[in-house]
Amino acid sequence: MEEKTLKDMKEEEIRKMEKKTLKDMKEKEEKEEEMRKLELMLSNIEIKGLSNETLDGIKCMTLYTDIYIVATDSNQVFNAKMYSKYKEFHNDYLNDIVLPHLRLHHGEFLLKEFETSWAHYSKVIHNRLHLYFRYLGRYYVAREKLLNLNDVGNRCFIDLLYEEMRSRVMDAVICLINKERDGAKIDRELVKKVVNVFEELKLYEDIFEERIVAGTKDYYSKKASLWISENSCPEFMLKVEECLEKEENMVRDCMKPATEQKIVSEVEHKLLVLHSTQLFDKEYSGLKKLLEDGKVVDLARMYRLYSRVHDGLQHVCLAFKNHVTAQGMALVRQTEIEVNKHVVKNDVGALQNQQVHLIMEFIKLHEVYLSYVNDYFQSNSMFFKVLKEAFEVFCNKSIAGVSPAELLSIFCDQTLKKKSCDNDKSTEDTIDDVVKLLVYISDKDMFAEFHRKKLARRLLFNKSDSDEHERYLLTKLKQKCGRHFTSKMEGMVTDLTLCQDTTASFTDYLRDNPDMNPGFDLTVTVLTIGFWPSYKTCTFNLPPEMLRCVEAFKQFYQTRTKRTRITWLFSLGTCTIVGKFEPKTMDLIVTTLQASVLLLFNSANRLSYSDIKDQLDLPEEDVTRLLHSLSCAKYKILKKEPDTKTISKTDYFEFNSMFTDRLKRIKVPFPLVDDRKKVIETVVSDRRHAIEAAIVRIMKFRKVLGHHQLMSECAEVLSSTFRPDFKIIKLQIESLISRDYLERDSKDHSVYRYLA
């Protein structure tokens, strides 16, 4: 029994195994059958047919179903195969249809073909395929994190057509763009479409933009060399401006905004930067010539163009500066020559005219070039700065030994003396111009001193046209240079105003005290010391008539204030004397001193030089000058023996009873002493004090300071008034050292220490 069972068992097992194997084999067969079926189905999915526009619905359904079946099969092997099949379909299409088509065409046609191929590919083919393979995408692709079906389409396109796009397609685009640049009309819509393709492929920056910019570079490199040699500077700039406009226009129309800057800067670089030297240095039309000829439109264009480029305006600015400086220096030189002619001939009037003329020319020059900066250089601060620097160069040049500060004061003097009816510019405008020029002059204190002297003259001899104008100038000066600059001058003007008050009181006094009345019309101007320039006082013997006047006023003034002391300046007074000449009685307007001389002849008919000198008790040079003005000049009120042109101590003088003139009232001129040197001396000495004060102030604050710093701080502090000579500063430092205000540091000799 056991044998049988064992055998049976074995047989059963074997039979079971056999059954199983059979079953497995069958399953395997079935599986393989299925696989084969699926494979067959896959290979049957004809994509070629998809390139046709219409596809009947049944075929679509069939396709979709087939794919679905394959995708849902539990055997995942097929998914991978299907994915690669999907890619394959794309590549086949591209290789078999798209590429050959592209290769057939060139130029604009290529672009059209390119655009349409893509359109068809991406919208028709790809979308369809995607549709069918959607199930695959949703599950398999997502799960395996593969490149999703959408992107596969793009990817295939890019992989296969990259080189094609980069070279042939872009060449065609560039060619087209260049045609437009050359002036032809092109199909911009096409360009836009191509741009879109690249954008959709996300290759805009890499391929399109890069090649377009490179193309722009090439184009303008060539054009630049050509144009620069063929065209004058203005012509060239005009072309550049046009190009820039066109490029901007084109880019804005067809391409992405970011590209604009890149293209424009290439154009700017090639046209403006690379050849700038050549452009500016053009002999007959370059920058220098444009400035000389005043070609403002071209200059404005140049400014506009070069303000786009980094540091582009340096050259223009420098050329402008040099030009203005040259103009100014030319004026200076010209005036110097003219002036020297007049100096030789000793023609003082013409000399002054030239000097005044120069200032007027400076003012005109300033107006012109200020308008340049404002109108053509868009009020650029760099240009303001160089304008200032240029003016500072030539506005500080002396003409035949006369400093510009003095020239300006002469001009000012004339302006304020003139009746304000002539020419088109109002006095106030001229005053504004004067102050503008003063800013450029470094020796402002020199101007102040000269002005003060001339102001005094104008105020005292009533030559000023208008009080308002004087005040206006002072206000402007105060604004520009500070209160200390004008304080004295303002004091002077105030003194004059107060005088009216004093005169009224004096008149009242005389009315109330008739015995004090000297019997003559007397006007006294009281000047406050310190405001007015210092005048030489001279004591001399007053004629009795004048003595009475002086006494009267003295008495009056003492009633007003006991404390103030008055000193008489006879050299500044004027007097109207009635001359009873035989032909007719005349009024003579003379200075007080001249009057004194004449009054001597009331008691004696004939006097010698020494007589006159003794009686008046004046220094010789004054006596000589007085007598000269009365006997040898224009009006010979006195007869001189001998009748020579100069005064000598042995001369005799007689009253000229036959003297007459056409007019009834004449002014006998008395020439002024040239006190220019004195003014300059005053200023120089004031400067020494100012420098010393500045040094002490600085050192007191700093306690310890190095040489260079002290020098430069000193110069800076004083810069609003004058430009100090470094030698003088050094001198003052040494003077302070020797007076023990400062000492040198024992270790470092270039460091100073303040000694309290």
């Binding site: 030698k727 001198l731 050292i737 040198r744 000799h749």
Partner: protein
């Protein structure tokens, strides 16, 4: 100390109570140097003598004891060493400044040009002969300065030490050199 005092009394001017100009002259004769020799100036420096031409007892003592000399013979010997001592850079400046102050008249702060030239020759002549002779030439030919002050005096030594002569190529007028030296350099350059 005794002998130092004795020596003092030997040369002292009895009416003054200190060694006067004649005393110094005889002293120099004894030591064997000229009374305009720089070494007497060096001795004065060692003494820190205040008034030119006179030595007080204290000063005399100070100087001679510093010299470790109490006889004429010893003084003579020590003078040579003294010279070397003075020549050392650390001492020389002190000596140089002292020479100026010593030469000042009563209540004065400056030395007139003539005396300054003489003093320069004595004090610096052997060390910087070229600079000194040129500078003296300049000082005598110009009119801007009538006196020399201490600052100018000290700066001149610094000038001799630092500036190449006669090329003057490393002189920079923009630095803190006194104006007189700026003018001197300018004069040198013009008269080359």
């Amino acid at each position: 100390m005794e002998r130092i005092d004795q020596l003092f009394h030997a040369y002292m001017d009895k009416s003054l109570g200190m060694v006067g100009p004649e005393g110094i002259e005889s002293f120099c004769l004894a030591v064997g140097i000229d009374h305009t020799d720089v070494r007497i100036l060096m001795l004065a420096w060692k003494m820190q003598a205040e008034k030119q031409g006179y030595f007080t007892l204290d000063e005399w003592r100070r100087g001679l004891s510093a010299l470790h000399a109490d006889t004429i013979l010893k003084i003579r010997k020590r003078l040579q060493e003294l010279e070397k001592e003075v020549m050392r850079p650390t001492n020389f400046l002190d000596f140089y400044v002292y020479a100026f102050c010593y030469s000042l008249a009563e209540k004065q702060k400056n030395i007139d040009i003539e005396s300054a030239c003489e003093l320069l020759t004595v004090v610096l002549g052997f060390r910087f002969p070229l600079q000194v002779s040129k500078f003296i030439e300049y000082l005598k030919s110009q009119n801007d300065y009538k006196v020399i002050n201490l600052d100018q005096w000290t700066s001149f030594l610094r000038f001799c030490n630092e500036i190449n002569f006669p090329s003057l190529d490393n002189y920079d007028a923009e630095l803190a050199w006194p104006l007189i030296l700026d003018n001197f350099v300018e004069w040198m350059r013009e008269n080359l």
